[in-house]
Symmetry: C2
Subunit: 226 residues, 2 copies
């Protein structure tokens, strides 16, 4: 049986996984709202972000209470500190999904994304959601190989981001400056969201190995850090 | 006389102030590099960011060692946790200054910012640097009124950011899509940098009052949180 202290630590971990689930789902729905021009869906994403913020405050308060009452050392201490950092990444990821939903709302009944970029944005949205699901799994399993795999999977996001810029800058852009501005911001939001998912995984690597992922021997890392 | 523990806590505080100084200065120099098209200056800003990253790792390691060895409670515990959060804000601010320097380098020998936007960008750069200097002072003084003032000072950044968008979207934009993309990102970088300075101040408010700044009675807060 686990003691009350480790049960509380597990509960915080469960809360982080719940946060990751919420922000991953928010990003999926924000992408749908953006591409379909769905105002109701956009508004539901915007409102739902308070739940993520509340969860973060609650988890952080519990982590700090744990530090004060149990005064953990070694791995347990690193676990609590990591949970504070991970919750910050997840809270910020929720903001980014909310930003995308707000752009969808701002352009309603129009669309922020021109038709010929839908496929790229859809892939960015799906990849963002998948990376966050992987990050949630890494929180549970603490699997370093899986965590490092996120870094290489994130390369595809960088590639999609570059493709978006190529569309913007190939000299045949026909959608005007406002849409160029929207697409620039949207691309940035997806890329940052993916960075936070990678960051969650990197924090777990640090927790398990005591090393930052860019300090691990090259054989262990399948990809370059972002 | 202060004991070794409080001396170490002070030293961490000094380190945070040093980080804030470095990233504030980086933002000032990045802005100069951007507006003057100064490649050497841009490169020096880009390289100098490793110093900020190293400082963060060092400060965080010291904060975690302090948690493990001294097992602080109450205000001392909150101070250490706050230092971890503040260092994350400052590290990210350094990245944003670096992003601006990278854009200056990318467009060299050209300029990323059209002449008629120089004044707005210069003001954004100066305000960003000033907000970070205020944040550094708040770390030292722990003055809640000063911390809350940052939130209202940041309103000017939002205004400048809106002015930038008005230029982009008023239908008379003559600088092409590439420059529109650059200006969109640059505006976002300054705004985020200022948000992090505000966030540093808000964390100090939480440290001192135990309340998040948006939970304080309206009389105490001179402005709305970002």
């Amino acid at each position: 049986m686990r003691d009350a202290y480790h049960e509380e630590l597990d509960a915080i971990g469960d809360g982080l996984v719940e946060m990751a689930g919420l922000v991953g789902s928010a990003m999926g729905r924000a992408t749908a709202a953006l591409l379909d021009g769905d105002l109701k869906l956009a508004e539901s994403v915007i409102e739902a972000d308070t739940r993520v913020d509340d969860l973060q405050r609650d988890l952080d308060d519990r982590a700090i209470t744990l530090l004060a009452r149990q005064q953990p050392v070694a791995t347990d201490l690193r676990t609590v500190v990591t949970s504070l950092r991970v919750s910050a990444d997840l809270e910020r990821s929720g903001d980014l999904a909310q930003h995308i939903a707000k752009l969808a709302r701002l352009r309603f009944p129009g669309r922020a994304v021109p038709r010929n970029l839908h496929r790229t944005i859809l892939e960015m949205g799906q990849l963002a959601q998948r990376l966050m699901a992987q990050a949630a799994e890494v929180i549970v399993t603490k699997d370093v190989a899986e965590a490092l795999k996120l870094e290489s999977d994130d390369d595809r996001m960088d590639e999609l981001h570059r493709m978006l810029f190529q569309h913007l800058l190939d000299g045949r852009w026909k959608h005007g400056v406002e849409t160029a501005v929207d697409v620039t911001l949207i691309g940035r939001y997806y890329e940052r969201f993916a960075d936070h998912a990678v960051s969650v995984a990197q924090r777990v690597v640090y927790l398990v190995t005591g090393e930052y992922s860019d300090e691990l021997p090259p054989g262990i890392s399948p990809g370059q850090p972002a």
